[in-house]
Amino acid sequence: MKVKLKNNSILLDRTDLEILRALQSDSRKTYSSIGRQLGVAHSTVYERVRKMEQQKVIKGYTVTVDSEKVGARNVVAFMTVYTDPKETERVAEKLAKLSNVVNVYSSLSEELLIIAKVTAKNQEEMHEFIANSVAPLPGVLKIRTSILTKKFKETETSIIG
């Protein structure tokens, strides 16, 4: 199977996709262990990974931190921001620059909305942040926030299924 990525000429075959899948589940896996898992030489894995890094198919390797364990920002919330449609883009860009904001998306359901994942040390800091840094942004009409109480599943989005 060959996959042609949209808007460029990069071709990924089944081995590339399996390597990506292995690295997405654990980016510290060695080339040897991935090679053993896929039945290919570790040098093959190395070459494929290097090529995908050069082509920016692999954009980087990050660490997923459990914020509860490091005691940093215990309160996590999903914030829905209703905006003047003319200002949505600008509000989303401003939100994306704020350190308390982890993810920002725009969504078109009945209205054009911004949905953002926000973290804070405690509920008071969460409120202060939204009241002082989000509500005053020009174009913000209304904000609905749901503070998360229990996590049932959280994984990074997998683009390779």
């Binding site: 914030m79 509920q123 939204i130 989000v134 509500a135 005053p136 009409l141 609905r144 503070i147």
Partner: protein, 115 residues
């Protein structure tokens, strides 16, 4: 302009949007209503939901904003007294409005009519 009049014009000014009071109904839930002056604050007391008034009253947000932003300690003391009397519902709305409007009327009244 007397010192008192100078103070009054400070309390009555329109503050920039980042210093305005934003009405919430609970943590992170912004109603879309805000007030950027004492006059606007007084008007909004009559239109925002009771839930929002109760939320901010309980937290002491009104006193804090009046003190920190409008720098009107006298009004902050009046609101603090109301907060300690644990009012709720329509009674809270009417008493808060009457405290703020009395204060506002005094400031905009000609000097000979002030307390």
């Amino acid at each position: 302009m007397t010192l008192k009049e100078e103070g009054n014009s400070r309390f009555l000014r329109i503050v920039p949007r980042e210093k305005a009071f934003y009405f919430f109904t609970s943590i992170g839930n912004y109603t879309g209503e805000s007030a950027a002056s004492l006059k606007e604050f007084m008007e909004k007391i009559n239109t925002v939901s009771i839930k929002s008034l109760e939320f901010h009253m309980l937290r002491g947000d009104f006193e804090k904003w009046v003190t920190d932003v409008l720098e009107d300690k006298e009004l902050a003391l009046d609101i603090g007294r109301l907060r300690r009397s644990n009012l709720a519902g329509d009674k809270l709305r009417s008493q808060l409005f009457s405290a703020v409007s009395r204060h506002y009327e005094e400031m905009v009244a000609p000097p000979e009519f002030r307390r």
